[in-house]
């Protein structure tokens, strides 16, 4: 593999054991790339490979024009030579050192006289002024995470690697840390790779996300693209798209291409690569399904009306999520509406309801046996 970008991070990794990897990633300076996937999908292993803490059997890792790892050429820089800032899931702070000393430990590349001031400056940047002398055991989870971020930045790294850095803090602290990280990264012109299994976190923070499954990068794109237009049904399942169904490509009376799903014709943008009559899968995000008001059923031309019976209904806070068992089939179409809308329309298990699938929200994918491939 050759570096397609001189600046930024370029990664290609292949291995069979102990965790299979077949990953290709690129992250530009100033960009945050989220690696998302279920537990055991190889996210952390990829991060460790980039940092030089793990060696894949084959592949190449380059950053800003330098080759850090090239299995074929026998190049393998040590973690010390690579210059990565790594925030571990457990933070991995040095428990016997104060916050100040933890940060200074990563400042060995700077003149001794500058280190203390630089460490104080970095701690101030993560809002920890006044806590410099505290050891990690006397800091809260959020404060420890900030020390870990300050220490990672102290190295003046070429790439910042974040391994599920928000998983060990409570929800309120997490929201606060999200804001701080978003603010901090505006001033950082380096590639940032964030490992997370939280899709919302990835969508909130990352510029692009890469979906991993069993060590393989399945799709990379903007969070919105990946979550609303997954490359295949497996990615759709991995991004928790609930409405994924099998259909066939068909034409309507005017010759316009669409889908036939359970005998119902659906207006949809079907790419030319799918042949007429071919089996396909399609997905619709819940935001692309509209519940018809009981008092004023929608008859819009582009709305793909579907009717059925409410089979499951769960109210969680301000939202109600429910499944419509589509008439004439056993398939469930999932919708999410504000709870007051659900109440006004009398949504409860057993009632009949109608909904529309927005044609532009229908995303057609290659056919895949939906019962076979399930995320780990």
């Amino acid at each position: 593999m050759t570096d397609t970008v001189a600046a930024g991070l370029c990664v290609r990794l292949v291995q069979q054991q102990p965790i299979p990897l077949d990953a290709t990633l690129a992250c530009a300076p100033g960009e945050m790339l989220a690696l998302v996937g279920p537990s055991g999908s190889g996210k952390s292993t990829i991060l460790r490979c980039i940092a030089g803490l793990w060696r894949a059997t084959e592949g190449r890792i380059g950053c800003n024009g330098q080759t850090w790892y090239d299995a074929a050429a026998g190049i393998d820089c040590t973690p010390q030579q690579r210059g990565t800032g790594f925030v571990f899931q457990s933070y991995a702070l040095f428990p016997h050192l104060s916050a100040q000393d933890n940060v200074e430990a990563a400042l060995g590349h700077r003149p001794a006289g500058e280190r203390a001031a630089r460490a104080r400056e970095l701690l101030a940047r993560v809002h920890l002024t006044g806590l410099e002398t505290r050891r990690p055991a006397l800091l809260s989870g959020g404060q420890q995470q900030r020390v870990a971020v300050a220490r990672a930045l102290a190295r003046d790294p070429q790439v910042l690697l974040l391994d599920e850095p928000f998983s060990a803090v409570d929800r309120v602290t997490r929201q606060k840390l999200y804001r701080e990280l978003a603010e901090l990264r505006r001033s950082l012109a380096l590639p940032i790779v964030l490992v997370t299994h939280d899709l919302d976190e990835a969508a909130l923070l990352a510029d692009r996300m890469s979906i991993l499954h069993r060590g393989r990068t399945l799709q990379t794109g903007t969070p919105r693209d990946v979550m609303t237009r997954p490359a295949d049904p497996l990615v759709a399942r991995l991004v928790d798209m609930k409405n994924v169904f099998e259909a066939r490509v068909a034409t309507d009376g005017n010759g316009a291409r669409g889908l036939v799903w359970n005998g119902v014709k659906l207006e949809a943008a079907v790419p030319a690569s799918f042949e007429l009559g071919a089996p396909v899968c399609f997905g619709v995000p819940m935001s692309g399904v509209l519940l018809h008001r009981r008092d004023r059923p929608s008859r819009g031309e582009r709305e793909n009306p579907v009717e059925g019976t409410v089979a499951e209904c769960v109210t969680l806070g301000e939202d109600t999520t429910f499944a419509l068992r589509v008439a004439g089939s056993c398939e469930l179409l999932w919708l999410r509406v504000p709870s007051h809308v659900a109440r006004r329309n009398g949504v409860m298990e057993g009632i009949a309801a109608r909904a529309s699938l927005f044609a532009d929200a229908i995303h057609v994918m290659p056919w895949q046996d939906l019962s076979r491939e399930t995320p780990a």
Partner: protein, 222 residues
């Protein structure tokens, strides 16, 4: 009080600690983190002195140090005197007897250091030696100190192996434990008692040090 025996015991204990400290650090660290074929067998072999009767261990050491053995002949060629029934022989025996006391606490201490902490140190740009001295050693220090103290007091109190390998040559191999036994054989209860109290105080003080330093670095707040 047999001051010569006490001095000899202290010299033996200091020599054992001084030699086992680097050996224990190296072997304990390897056993804590490296995975290699035969590791379990090596661990079992290093723990043998804990369970072998001192007479059995002493017998094999005596045979191993004798003039008929390769080690014994090599030592005679180098120094002009035999390893058995000499202070050097006692030191060699003490090293072997104390292997588990030195290595196991250090191994456990290194095992307790999270792998991510060492990885973080490498990502901070610290050299392997710097990681060892600034991160690993301070974190493993309670275990290292325990190992040193246990080795020291165990050497002071060792009896069976010392008697088998060194005999009871005053000023050369007669340690304080042997001296207590000699005093008892001579019905000198007062002399034996004085030395026994000295050993008891020494051992108790050492255990206090071990427990006082085994305090962790504190708990993480919720």
């Amino acid at each position: 009080m047999d001051w010569t025996a006490l001095r000899l015991s202290l010299q033996l204990a200091v020599a054992s600690v001084a030699l086992l400290l680097p050996l224990g650090l190296a072997v304990g660290r390897i056993l804590a983190w490296r995975r290699f074929r035969g590791r379990r067998v090596l661990e079992a072999a290093l723990a043998l002195p804990l369970v072998l009767p001192p007479t059995v261990l002493g017998f094999y050491l005596l045979v191993g140090f004798g003039a008929d053995s390769a080690a014994g002949r090599a030592f005679v060629a180098l120094t002009g005197h035999t390893l058995a029934f000499s202070f050097a022989g006692l030191v060699a025996a003490s090293l072997i007897v104390n292997l588990p006391f030195a290595i196991q606490p250090m191994q456990r201490a290194f095992e307790a250091i999270p792998a991510d902490v060492r990885a973080a140190a490498a990502c901070c740009g610290m050299s392997p030696w710097c990681i060892f001295t600034r991160i690993e050693l301070p974190l493993a220090w309670p275990g290292v100190l325990s190992a040193m103290v246990l080795t020291f007091v165990h050497t002071l109190g060792e009896f069976g192996v010392v008697l088998m390998v060194g005999g009871s040559i005053p000023g050369e191999t007669k340690t304080i434990s042997i001296a207590i036994y000699d005093r008892m054989q001579a019905f000198d209860l007062a002399g034996a008692g004085t030395m026994a109290v000295a050993l008891l105080a020494c051992s108790f003080g050492a255990m206090i040090v071990v427990y006082a330093t085994s305090r962790p670095h504190g708990h993480v707040h919720d």
